[in-house]
């Protein structure tokens, strides 16, 4: 008979706190069967060691999670056929022999607690339970299907590694180990999600990273109390400092080389089981504008491209607001001939400039959203329809002026140059706010909005590292890798703001 602990508690408590706490139950096959139930993917099997009916044991595993071939060859076969078991007269002898490693599976654990057995089974182990002795052995025979290592999708580089993270944590940590062959690479695992039991690997370089940063990351990860951590936000939102800021505060990457490079800088990485991306903390604004390609090209080319990217960031943020300001409040700022071109394009358009820009921005957002939701083949159709309908037809129908279309198109194109989608999304939000501010009081509104934005950036910290580092902060400026990418030989030290143990990157 099952006795649920604290069964008088309400359902919510049970879901979030008590689901796996069966300490009061004895480790027996019946109890496990009662807890799990008779779901179709659970396999229960009664086995007799070497066909001796006196030597009874039970096997439990989840179909699909374990490799059945592994279970048959390396667990069941020795138990059924190994001569050493023929001499056993009792289950205690069997247990003793298994403990000595006769079942030659590399990862076998002896369990005496029912919770541990359940955890192991749910994470892909096969359990052999000896009821009379309340002992079980779990063999890690994970054999579920996993996506092979493939090319990165959103961070592709021409001259660089082509491998990307996949959804399997062990595969990802192994990839990191392959890239950093150092005993100082620490990979500590913790479980997050009361229901999902998602393993999270906290990776860092022991000899480089600031210990207090490690403690802080661990504390925040361990403090996460959620039912599941299946999507990225369930981790990200709980560990960042400024939860109300739309700007990303920890970086994500699908590239192991980028991940490892950041670990070697003195940052901390988080690999989450089930996600093909890894997180890097702390994150600064500069990191989100840097692209992996920057370090695989000549420094002059990289510097130029990075500068263009920085410019694009401000163009995508400010252009619509600036356009509204100068066409509605400060017409004298526009070059004379351009003024007449804009006026000529605006003739016959019934909407004020702000409404025009707002309509176009909303239409652009709709197109982006529709393109994301639809399958790739139909997505292209949406783009064509959007360009034709919104761009051409609306201009011909005098609903929008061509100049506005060009402005919003430029805004859209520059937004696509952002290497980090989270940053791009935050800029999208602020773009609307600045457009509204500038439509009220022109350039003053724009300036005030920009002031608020910079104020927000200045106030933000990510794990005690200033968000605008290295542009602000009391440490000496390290601008070799900021607006421009200087030759690697000039970047002798690691970022000061990370307070690394070993500050020197190269001699």
């Amino acid at each position: 008979m099952l006795n649920y602990k604290n069964s008088s508690r309400n359902a919510e408590d049970i879901v979030f706190e008590e689901t796996f706490d069966y300490n009061e139950l004895e480790l027996t096959f019946r109890n496990i069967q009662s807890i799990i139930g008779s779901y179709s993917d659970f396999v229960y099997r009664n086995i007799n060691i070497v066909n001796d009916k006196k030597l009874e044991a039970y096997m439990v595993y989840i179909d699909g999670m374990v490799g059945t071939q592994l279970v048959s060859d390396y667990v069941l076969k020795p138990l059924m056929q190994a001569d050493v078991f023929a001499k056993c007269s009792s289950e205690a002898d069997v247990i003793s022999i298994i403990e000595q490693g006769t079942v030659y599976y590399s990862n076998a654990k002896k369990r005496t607690n029912i919770n541990d057995v359940l955890n192991d089974v749910l994470t892909g182990s096969a359990a052999v339970i000896f009821d009379k002795h309340r002992i079980a052995f779990t063999f890690e025979t994970k054999g579920f299907d996993k996506r092979p290592v493939s090319e990165p999708i959103s961070e592709n580089v021409i001259k660089g590694a082509k491998d990307a993270f996949n959804e399997t944590i062990r595969s990802n940590t192994a990839t990191c180990r392959r890239k950093i062959k150092s005993p100082n690479l620490a990979i500590e695992e913790t479980i997050v999600g009361k229901q999902s039991k998602t393993p999270i690997a906290i990776c860092y370089m022991k000899n480089i990273v600031d210990d207090s940063l490690v403690q802080e990351v661990k504390r925040r990860v361990n403090d996460i109390s959620v039912a599941h951590a299946i999507t990225a936000s369930f981790i990200e939102e709980f560990i960042i400092d400024n939860k109300n800021s739309p700007f990303p505060q920890i970086m994500y990457t699908e590239r192991p080389d980028r991940f490892c490079a950041n670990l070697l800088e003195g940052r901390i990485g988080l690999i989450i089981d089930g996600l093909p991306v890894a997180f890097i903390a702390p994150g600064t604004l500069l990191q989100f504008v840097q692209a992996p390609e920057d370090y695989s090209q000549h420094y002059l080319i990289s510097s130029l491209i990075r500068y263009v990217r920085f410019t694009s960031m401000f163009v995508t943020l400010l252009l619509p607001a600036f356009y509204i300001s100068i066409t509605t409040f400060h017409q004298e700022m526009i070059p004379t001939e351009l003024t007449f071109s804009i006026v000529a394009s605006k003739v016959g358009v019934p909407f004020p400039m702000f409404v025009e820009v707002l309509l176009m921005l909303i239409a652009f957002e709709l197109l982006v959203e529709a393109g994301l939701r639809l399958p790739q083949t139909i997505g292209q159709t949406v783009s064509i329809v959007g360009a034709l309908v919104v761009g051409q037809a609306a201009v011909e129908a005098k609903l929008l002026s061509p100049a506005t279309v060009i402005i919003v198109a430029t805004t859209a194109i520059t937004s696509f140059t952002m290497p980090n989608q989270d940053l791009s999304n935050a800029l999208r939000l602020w773009r609307f706010l600045l457009a509204i501010a500038s439509s009220i009081i022109g350039m003053y509104g724009l300036t005030m909005g920009l002031f608020l934005l910079i104020n927000q950036w200045c106030r933000m910290d990510s794990f005690n590292v200033p968000y605008l580092s290295p542009f602000i902060g009391d440490e000496k400026l390290q601008l070799q890798d900021s607006l421009f990418r200087f030759p690697l030989s000039t970047m002798k030290n690691r970022p000061e703001s990370l307070k690394t143990k070993n500050k020197q990157r190269m001699k």
Binding site: T327, T328, Q331, F340, A344
Partner: protein
């Protein structure tokens, strides 16, 4: 807090959308403003001010229908002051006048003779005007008359003026003077100045200016004593002013070859330095002009590409420049008008005498002894060393 946010959102929508445009009075859509390119100011016989503004017609360029239609919109009004006249345009203007793009401010000859400083007060106070707007004087006509007659041309008047300005470097008989420069000089006592002149010209050679259709032409400088027009300079003297003021960009110097056929020399570079000094003989001023020319054309049949021939040409060009400069210096001394702004170089060199120089400048200026030094060289002869006329 909830109420505060609701209020904020409500305010944003109220201020943003067009229904409440009166809340933000400075907001004007770009297609609803009259982008003034030219401001023309005249005084009338009844002591009023005739105020004319010109802009480009919006549809002209983009619709591709500019061919036969007028390229500009003109608004005219009058009032006792420039400001009143400008405001009275609101009586019938279809768009709000905006002066942020005003590139040219023009005055009629009669108005200029009465003095233009009172009319510049409104312009200098209005925050929309740019200080790099250029000032022109219309010779023989009112500014309004000029706009009415010349604006018939298919090309927009301000564009035409702008192009003329750009091309005027080739003859250097005129140069632009900005509003900032004019206000600076008109505000000073004892200093005369010059403003560029535009004249109405017949559009076909040989026709009289009164016959039309009309065109326009740059006509050197008008000389001002304080803010009042005194006289128009001819081309030689206007170029002389440019030499002294170091405003010479390029021009053609015509000289004679040894066979008395014409040779065209193009001024390529020039630099003028003014060296004032005071000794027992009084105030003296050395004007050193250094320039180089290119041989652009020869109608001579003789071989010119010899050291002797070049020396011969060089002496002629120096003589011509010296004559131009001395002519305008003579004119300035005779009229007692410091159109070269020489007071400043003297003050810079002798700062301790600043007050005395300022006080007595009117008497001192005619006594200045000028020494004009001209040095030149013919730099480039290009690859063609023989004229096609050479036999």
């Amino acid at each position: 807090m909830k109420r505060f946010f609701s209020l904020c959102i409500l305010s944003i929508f109220m201020l943003t959308f067009a229904g409440c445009s009166q809340l933000v009075r400075s907001r004007t859509e770009i297609d609803r403003i009259f982008n003034t390119r030219i401001v023309a100011i005249d005084s009338t016989d009844d002591n009023k001010i005739l105020y004319t503004i010109v802009t480009k017609t919006a549809m002209t360029d983009t619709a591709g229908q500019g061919g036969g239609s007028a390229a500009s919109d003109v608004l005219v009004s009058n009032g006792a002051t420039v400001f009143e006249a400008a405001r009275k345009m609101g009586e019938y203007a279809h768009r709000k006048p905006h002066y942020g793009h005003t590139e040219f401010i023009i005055f009629g000859e009669d108005t200029a003779r009465e003095g233009i400083l009172p009319y510049l007060d409104f312009i200098s106070r209005n925050q929309e005007f740019r200080y790099n707007a250029k000032i022109y004087i219309i010779q023989g006509h009112t500014a309004n008359d000029f706009i009415t007659k010349v604006n018939e041309a298919k090309i927009f008047l301000a564009d035409r003026l702008s192009l003329m300005e750009d091309n005027s470097y080739a003859i250097s008989i005129s140069d632009k003077v900005t509003l900032a420069e004019a206000l600076f000089i008109f505000g000073k006592e004892n200093i005369a100045t010059f403003l560029p002149v535009i004249a109405i010209a017949p559009s076909k050679p040989g026709e009289l200016p009164s016959q039309g259709p009309y065109d326009m032409a740059m006509k050197g400088y008008a000389i001002f004593k304080e803010d009042k027009l005194v006289e128009f300079l001819d081309e030689d003297m206007s170029r002389g002013v440019n030499w002294v003021k170091n405003r010479m960009r390029s021009a053609v110097i015509l000289v004679d070859a040894p066979d008395k056929k014409k040779v065209s020399l193009e001024i390529a570079q020039s630099k003028t330095t003014i060296k004032p000094f005071i000794d027992e003989n009084g105030l003296q001023c050395t004007i050193s002009i250094n320039f180089s020319t290119n041989l652009s054309e020869t109608m001579s049949e003789e071989e010119l590409f010899t050291i002797e021939s070049f020396d011969y040409l060089k002496k002629q060009q120096e003589k011509q420049v010296k004559q131009n400069v001395e002519k305008v210096i003579h004119y300035a001394l005779e009229k007692d008008m410091d159109i070269f702004g020489l007071l400043s170089p003297f003050i810079i060199k002798y700062p301790m005498m600043k007050d005395e120089l300022r006080e007595k400048w009117r008497e001192l200026f005619p006594e200045i002894k000028f020494n004009v030094e001209v040095d030149s060289k013919i730099n480039r002869t290009y690859l063609i060393t023989e004229s096609v006329n050479t036999k």
